[in-house]
Symmetry: C2
DNA sequence: TTATTTTTTTATAATCATTATAAAATAACA
DNA sequence: TGTTATTTTATAATGATTATAAAAAAATAA
């Protein structure tokens, strides 16, 4: 949870960085970024769009998507992807985790002792009743590291 | 990595359990499950469909989806979801993890020391060059635990 | 300032994974 | 064998995201 002060400075920092890298600071961009910094709910693109629609009556959903991509590339925003790839299925029900290659999309098993402690701490902290968890490493697989 | 022996027994076990719970063992079901047990590539629904198409020329994609759901409910298969929900965006770039409520969809922050060790071990094991990682707890949030 | 160029936004259509629906096929059971 | 329940198929619908092209806005040059 970040305070108002940190939030404002994050906004200023972001605007500064955008200015320096030649990315225009449009009203829509400022609104989307401000909304993301203000809200704690990890909104979807559509939620952002709906929240800003009253203030920007003819803003397009594309604008939200386009600018989210800009922010992600600039490192201001992080995406938790659930929507742009197909689900993958695994018949190995033993406890294990996965590494995903961002180049070729390959998914590799990781053998690692279950993160009981982390899960326990998380449930205590959030009050969640945990039914499962996933750890995923994102990066480049050895095959894709070779070339280039 | 599971051996052929374990695989066969998993198949038999699954077929047995299906028989006991009144789920019919159709050729398509057996083919999908066998393929999932044989392959190590964590295939998508479409990959499964394409792999089995030559042998079952008029099988439908729906059949793949339907039966994957059956297997998941029976506990034979696990789904790594990337495709049935919208992405969520977070402007808090500090290292933290998330808990997701399967009832209301709410996403809650978890403060936890970064899993450096797990990531390090994973990169050593897989040869991946890691650029990031995610830990997610799945379960029911306190609000949704109350009612029912 | 005005004209020109570049970037951004908008509106709309296209794509892709997934789900819903209903008819046809199959299997179980009486 | 006839009847019922389940499963498969084919097709359409949905929903998130991306692509495209024209319009608008901002930056730059003259």
């Amino acid at each position: 949870m970040q305070g108002v002060k940190a939030m404002v400075s994050h906004l200023e920092e972001a605007l500064e960085k955008m200015k320096n890298t030649g990315v225009r600071i449009t009203p829509q961009r400022q609104a989307i970024l401000t909304y993301l910094l203000e809200t704690m709910t990890h909104p979807t693109a559509d939620e952002i769009y709906k929240a800003l629609e009253p203030y920007y009556p003819n803003m397009s959903v594309s604008t939200v998507y386009n600018n989210l991509k800009v922010f992600i590339e600039a490192g201001f925003v992080r995406e938790m992807t659930y929507g742009d790839n197909a689900s993958r299925f695994d018949a190995d029900m033993t406890a294990h985790y996965h590494a995903l290659c961002k180049v070729c999309g390959k998914m590799t098993d990781i053998e690692y002792p279950p993160l009981e402690e982390a899960v326990h701490m998380a449930t205590g902290q959030t009050g969640f009743r945990a039914e499962g968890h996933r750890l995923e490493i994102y990066g480049v697989c050895p095959d894709c590291s070779v070339e280039k």
